[in-house]
């Protein structure tokens, strides 16, 4: 029951209404019950998986810091068992809640978990807005909010609706529209016969599709949580506006980046601070692991390794330019170069991520970077729509800021609040409904 289904949206209204009608103490159990019911909608039998995982993590955490590695090994073992290619079906969301569980264990070792009762851990892991595809949370940022002591405020509903409707439009109107062309263009035969322009357009289109698809999911998760007064961290911040590879990772899947930074990069960085080569190698290795997290496919690993290489390249540049060419490092030319490089590099890395096979990846990359063939193979609509969505990406921060201004203006004008804001919601819901395609799943549900 993904967020963009009719059943979810229609059940959300009575679900949220009842939540606010209950006393705070009952809300905790009500949300847990909703979370269990929500997870059971995927596969009731798999309810045992997060339960078992939480039990193992809780036991390990209770043993104190010395059981950290045992706990992590337990979580990783469950993750590997269920994500192995031989497994017919995968418990929904395991990639996400396994990360949250590992973070819990490390935070516990570092003394950041004050009250680590099993029920609190279970409620944290099972919190339904984030259960299936993140954002990946830390116990200490979510758990205090799961007491649900805040009184209802209209602003919660409005902020929640803003994000929910935005996500619905991003998913159905933008991501689904692009996915039809992307799916065709990445078919094995298509890849080999595409022209250079086709392949660049497809790589860009997929980059846009996966961004709007995943940002849509994150917006809906944030919006849904907001409806019950829970503030979740942002997961995307206009990633294609990134000024450098590290900047991209501070804007893309931000909660995963944060997790990798805090629980992998920082410890490794501390160890290899004075030894650049092992540091760069570990950077590559960590990013390859991030790729592997998406699935047991070498395309994901290559995607991660490419990002590792971009980050390494940038770090080398930073070290060299700071030491030898400080003027150039701060120049506008360098800033533009890195901006363009980042955009092209990120787009290029989407090719192995999406292509079906290694041969397809290399055929596509060869066509994009050397074996040039001219012409277009698809209807002009594909190129126009991709261009329009890319143009929207460029102006997206300004649209967001304009909406914030308009929203605060509407707050001060009741007529606008009760007429214009609902009109904006209705327009978004109309686009969601008319572009609805039940067969299109969220891409990140696969991971």
């Amino acid at each position: 029951m993904p967020f963009n289904t009719y059943s979810f949206l229609l059940l959300l209204i009575p679900g949220v209404s009842l939540f606010w009608a209950l006393p705070p103490a009952a809300r905790r159990w009500y949300v847990l019950a909703l979370s269990l019911a929500y997870y059971a909608m995927w596969n009731a039998a798999f309810l045992a998986v997060p339960l078992l995982l939480c039990a193992g993590v809780h036991l390990a955490a209770r043993q104190g810091p010395r059981c950290l590695w045992g706990g992590i090994a337990f979580v990783l073992a469950m993750f590997i068992v269920f994500r192995a290619p031989l497994t017919a079906t995968v418990p929904a969301g395991i990639s996400f809640y396994a990360f949250a569980a590992i973070a819990y264990l490390i935070d516990n070792k570092q003394g950041r978990i004050q009250d680590g009762s099993f029920t609190k851990l279970f409620r944290f892991v099972m919190f339904w807005p984030t259960l299936i595809a993140g954002p990946i949370l830390r116990f200490r940022e979510l758990s205090p909010q799961l007491g649900f002591t805040k009184p209802f405020e209209l602003s919660m509903l409005l902020r929640g609706m803003d994000r929910l409707v935005l996500g619905l439009v991003q998913k159905n109107f933008i991501a689904n529209t692009l996915s039809g062309w992307v799916d065709q263009g990445f078919l094995p035969n298509a890849v080999r016969a595409n022209t250079t322009l086709d392949n660049w357009a497809l790589a860009i289109a997929f980059g846009l599709e996966i961004y709007f698809d995943f940002a849509a999911y994150s917006n809906m998760a944030i919006g849904t949580a907001q409806l019950i007064g829970v503030a979740l961290p942002e997961n995307f911040r206009f990633p294609y506006h990134a000024a450098s590879p590290p900047d991209f990772w501070s804007r893309w899947h931000m909660t995963l980046s944060r997790w990798v930074r805090d629980y992998l990069f920082f410890p490794v960085n501390a160890r290899f601070k004075a030894a650049p080569v092992p540091l760069y190698a570990s950077l590559l290795g960590i990013m390859a692991l991030v790729g592997l997290w998406h699935g047991a496919g070498w395309g994901f690993v290559l995607w991660g390794a490419m990002h590792g290489a971009y980050l390494t390249f940038y770090r080398i540049w930073e070290n060299l330019s700071d030491a030898r060419m400080p003027g150039l490092a701060n120049s506008r030319l360098a800033a533009w170069w890195w901006r363009i490089f980042t955009l092209m590099a990120v787009t290029t890395a989407w090719v192995p991520f999406r292509a079906a096979t290694g041969a397809d990846t290399f055929a596509m990359l060869a066509s994009m970077f050397g074996r040039w063939r001219f012409g277009i193979s698809y209807g002009v609509n594909f190129y126009l729509v991709t261009l329009m969505v890319a143009a929207f990406c460029v102006v997206e921060p300004y649209v967001g800021s304009a909406w914030s201004h308009a929203a605060s203006w509407m707050e001060d004008h009741p007529a606008a609040r009760y007429l214009l804001r609902p009109l904006a919601y209705a327009a978004g819901l109309m686009l969601f409904l008319i572009f609805d395609d039940r067969s299109k799943q969220f891409i990140y549900f696969q991971f």
């Binding site: 009719y6 995927w42 209209l154 094995p188 080999r192 012409g375 193979s377 009760y418 609902p422 799943q441």
Partner: protein, 388 residues
């Protein structure tokens, strides 16, 4: 309490606006305004009330052809000795776009294929005619249909008229509505054969088989078996209920209007009309060519006479990107015909520009007006005389 009431008002107003938007058909209105500003022709020139006859046409237009085949089987069973002719083509065979000066329709309009069917009906049932068309029918889909007809004796034709059209070579894939045909085991085997042959069109067939299998087990991703879940069934139940709400079923129509709005923007503002001259390249043209060759070979093996005909093209709308595209296309079509020793009729330049419809405010590249259909029917019937 006040905040709760405010929330209720906002949710209620949202629902109210949604109803207003659905009832108000905003995109249709925007389209009408754009047409008015940029001089687009009135909507009635794109004729919607077309002649329908289940015994001579596949009425679902590729969206659900099995029922049509069932009717065809019954219809042809009534004329066991008649020579069976099937024509496969794209929307040109099933649509009328009135030419400037042609009067508003007063009843159902007939295309040239309907006129051909009428003619064969009137000449004593020695020949029965059937149109198997769909908008943008790809050559992979023509091969798909041909394989189905060849594997079903009750609807297997003696003559197959195959429309050749430059733009159609850019189309690919098998549309979802045609997947139901895979419920026929012998046809499924034929499709599996094509899918495993490593021909350029094989991936489209393999993908169709994959989609069909997925459809039988309701939709699922690699990771989360949505189709087997309680959530799937709950969603299905919700959708069934919602579809019964008056007006909710207009979603598809609204989406079409939205798409047409974008097409208008493209045509009026960017001057990129849908049939802009272009060069075809890439895998689709390779797959289309291979599918056409395989269709001819399949019919040869199955004892079906194939007649290729070059569809008329509007002289006011150049289709070929370059003269080389024009030459290569015609050489390919001629080579398919000559290699197999089959007839190819050329109607490409047979209908003058004045007999074609208009699309928005530019000449329609594909669809004939009333007189154009009449003329083409005459030309085809006389050219076919003696060919089958």
């Amino acid at each position: 309490m006040r905040q709760a009431v405010s929330s209720g008002i906002i949710m209620g107003a949202t629902l109210g606006w949604l109803v207003v938007l659905f009832a108000g058909a905003p995109f249709e209105r925007i389209n009408a305004v754009l047409d008015h500003i940029f001089g687009g022709l009135p909507a009635w020139t794109q004729v919607e009330d077309m002649h329908r006859d289940a015994s001579t046409q596949e009425l679902s237009r590729g969206e659900s052809p099995l029922e049509s085949f069932r009717i065809l089987k019954e219809s042809w069973a009534e004329h066991p000795s008649a020579r069976r002719i099937v024509l496969m083509g794209n929307s040109q065979t099933q649509m009328t776009s009135l030419a400037p000066g042609e009067r508003r329709p007063s009843g159902p309009e007939e295309t040239y294929t309907d006129r051909m069917a009428d003619y064969y009906q009137q000449t004593g049932r020695h020949k029965v005619f059937y149109r198997l068309s769909a908008g943008a029918l790809s050559y992979q889909e023509m091969l798909w249909y041909a394989a189905y007809l060849a594997s079903n004796a009750a609807i297997k034709p003696e003559v197959l008229l195959v429309q050749l059209n430059y733009q159609n070579f850019a189309n690919g894939e098998i549309r979802g509505g045609m997947l139901e045909m895979l419920s026929d085991a012998s046809f499924r085997r034929a499709v599996q054969e094509v899918a495993h042959q490593n021909r350029p069109e094989s991936p489209a067939f393999a993908e169709a088989l994959h989609q069909y299998e997925r459809g039988r087990r309701p939709a699922q991703t690699d990771a989360v078996p949505i189709g087997l879940t309680p959530g799937f069934w709950l969603e299905t139940a919700f959708r069934e209920k919602l579809d019964r709400i008056p007006g909710f079923g207009r979603r598809d129509g609204m989406r079409q209007s939205f798409v047409f709005m974008l097409i208008r923007g493209r045509t009026y503002l960017l001057r990129l009309n849908p049939a802009r001259r272009r060069s075809l390249s890439g895998w689709r043209i390779a797959a289309s060519r291979a599918a056409l060759e395989d269709l001819v070979a399949l019919c040869e093996r199955s004892g079906i006479q194939v007649i290729l005909f070059q569809a008329p093209a509007n002289p006011a709308v150049p289709l070929y990107g370059t003269s080389e595209d024009d030459r290569a296309y015609h050489e390919f079509c001629a080579s398919v015909a000559s290699r197999s020793g089959i007839v190819m009729l050329d109607f490409e330049h047979s209908v003058p520009a004045a007999e074609w419809g208009m699309e928005l405010n530019v000449p329609d590249p594909l669809h004939l007006g009333r007189r154009g259909h009449r003329l083409l029917a005459q030309l085809m019937l006389s050219a076919l005389e003696g060919e089958h």
